[in-house]
Structure formats: structure tokens, C-alpha cells
Symmetry: C2
Subunit: 127 residues, 2 copies
């Protein structure tokens, strides 16, 4: 995901969504542990323009603009608490979707305008 304002992204993904911070390189990126994966949030102004080298090798440039999308699996029973938490952070719930298989999603925006979804974890038959 991309966020030009990493401080604002950290308040959203770290404080509000309670993800565990793994790496924060000022003005370049913040990385969060997220289930069995890692959520990488980059400042596109940095990663698309400033070449980083590790042991002499370039890390390729990247950086997209415009709203991306991220879905995070949560327990169905926890969704009401997540809605309360979003409200307490003054985050507007943009939409709620009831999927044909009985799963349920809530959608809202991160501070950069990315579309974030909390979905009950059975949507694709996954834990």
C-alpha cells in the first residue's frame, strides 16, 4: 500500500487497527505484521524516486498513485466491536456488504484514501 503521510498511516494501521509494527524507516516505509504476512506501506514519493541500495545492490523503484485496496480477515463476532472502534476514531464506514455465503464486510478509507475492508474470515474458506 502507499501513503504519503506515514505518521497518519501509523495512527490508522498501528493505533486504530492494532497491527504490530515491524519496521519504520522515516519518510520511506512502515511495515506491519499482519496474520501470516506483512503489510508494507510505502511513501511513493520516496520509493518511486530515491534509489535505495543494500550491500551495493539496488532495490527497484516502485510507487503507485490513487486509491488501493486491502482486505483484512477478522472474526465475524468481532465486527460489531470493530465498528464501534471505527466510530470512536471518527472513521466513516463507507459501505457494509453481506456476501452470498454469509460473510460480512465493512469498508472504510485510510488517511490516504485507500479502501480498507474488514471481512469475516470465512469469505474464501480461509482461517
Amino acid at each position: 500500500m502507499y501513503a504519503e503521510d506515514l505518521e497518519a498511516a501509523a495512527k490508522f494501521y498501528g493505533d486504530m487497527l492494532k497491527l504490530e509494527l515491524i519496521s519504520w524507516e522515516e519518510n520511506r516505509h512502515i511495515f506491519y505484521k499482519c496474520g501470516g504476512g506483512m503489510l508494507l506501506i510505502f511513501n511513493p514519493g520516496h520509493t518511486s524516486a530515491e534509489q535505495t541500495f543494500v550491500n551495493g545492490s539496488p532495490v527497484p523503484l516502485h510507487g503507485a498513485k490513487g486509491p488501493g485496496h486491502l482486505a483484512l480477515a477478522v472474526e465475524e463476532n468481532d465486527i460489531p466491536q470493530w465498528k464501534e472502534r471505527l466510530i470512536s476514531y471518527n472513521i466513516e464506514i463507507e459501505s457494509e456488504v453481506n456476501w452470498p455465503n454469509g460473510c460480512h464486510s465493512i469498508y472504510f478509507r485510510d488517511p490516504s484514501g485507500n479502501s480498507v475492508e474488514l471481512v469475516s474470515s470465512g469469505l474464501w474458506g480461509m482461517d
Copy 2:
């Protein structure tokens, strides 16, 4: 991730990277199982412009432009085989990075120009 040409993305992520296809909605998206998560690849021309409804509720619009980034964990011992496979698909390896902790990454581009990384799975102490 975003790809305007989903057929080309499917050859790359499905055939070459051998991810398991879960959902393909023509011209809108392809979803792949990827470890404990799901890789969602959307055609931004569709998801940023054409409102989808599920049981009467809107699925929020999104769609970024420009090169995104994705890292997939692989076994360190499998990296030489992945390099051979990339070569056999005429995919250029853009960079190789040796991380300070002993992990190793190879970087290349998907057909849309997104930066894809295969990284030995110990990079963040994860499986």
C-alpha cells in the same frame, strides 16, 4: 495489485508463479491463494469506475496507477530454481539483494510493471 491486462497477469501469477486461482471475474479481477492470504489483482479501469453491488450494497471504488510492489516468501533453497524459471519465461531479473541478516531477494516486473520480489522466508523471522 493492479493490472489492466488480466490475461497477461494470469499467465504471470498463475502459470509462472504457480499461485492457485480462486476467483476470476472477466475484465474485473483475478484472485489467487497465496500462503495464508489472498492476492487480489484488479483491473483499475473497472474497479475505479464501475460500481459493483452485492445484495444491494456498493463495493467501494478503488484503483491505483503506476508500479506497485509485492514480496512473496520462498524457500532459500528454491531460489536458484525460481531464477531458472524466470529465465525460461523470458523475465528479466532486475536486481538481486543480499540482506544483512543473510536473506536473499530477487526482483523482477510483472506484465503491468509492478515490482515483484521473491525473498527467502526468514527475512522478517516469518515462515
